[in-house]
Symmetry: C2
Amino acid sequence: MEITYNYFDNSDAHLPPGFRFHPTDEELITYYLLKKVLDCNFTGRAIAEVDLNKCEPWELPAKAKMGEKEWYFFSLRDRKYPTGLRTNRATEAGYWKATGKDREIYSSKTCALVGMKKTLVFYRGRAPKGEKSNWVMHEYRLEGKFAYQYLSRSSKVFYIYHIHAHSYFIRHFSSV
Amino acid sequence: MEITYNYFDNSDAHLPPGFRFHPTDEELITYYLLKKVLDCNFTGRAIAEVDLNKCEPWELPAKAKMGEKEWYFFSLRDRKYPTGLRTNRATEAGYWKATGKDREIYSSKTCALVGMKKTLVFYRGRAPKGEKSNWVMHEYRLEGKFAYQYLSRSSKVFYIYHIHAHSYFIRHFSSV
């Protein structure tokens, strides 16, 4: 049996057993999303870039960089109408619909508001007659101080999406 | 702002933001504990070796290799009496007491029983008058096929311990 080996090699696929990408909300906002908004060429080991309007949820796991039952993506915000503020969250097969209230994310160091987290559920079909699925995602956006300092009208507005199928998620975390 | 960097360097302290040691029960048994039982010199980036009878729970975080609110350790089983099977789980300040039923850990590949998980709570003082604390740990041991194949009477019997203070743990995972 091999006992010694290189714990963290440079391949994207390999992490030592037990090591996972399990970021806090704050890490997603203050590290990954901020880096991406400041430089759209930023790429990391954990979060792939996709166009969420062109991908059905069940196609996303294959596009992710890592993750067994939950996956993280960057996606550019697509406005529903060119001059409006509403975000287009439709795909060919259905649409993502917000559920619950948006949650505020604060910096643990400065206590400043740095981002917001919205929960969305995927419905197959077209609103308002869509059929609810078990695909759920959290959408993270810059807000407060960070949005004010780093987003301008001309910025490409990236969001981070944390996606999972609901039954998987429950099973995964209930073993903790 | 630095955009590209080496994600996994060789220092023990550094992991990129969001990456954590969050192993499943099966990974702890079939990977880390098995390696340690087969070679007592095995050492890894995530799990330090301690003598649990010589450490109070509140001293353990400083002895861990990584972890913010939960920590993993190898420890040799200390028999209560030289010829008996009971395990000594006393420290100078108190003792670890089992709670609930032991849980069986199965291989997801072969479905064979590979280990057991016991939950223990730390009490200050001496039994039966100890005062319950919020320190909790899970004890992992080889069992079934693995114990039969790899443990002999002369083996040094290592266990893995997963330790946390209860209020920390709840807070940590409720944010998921």
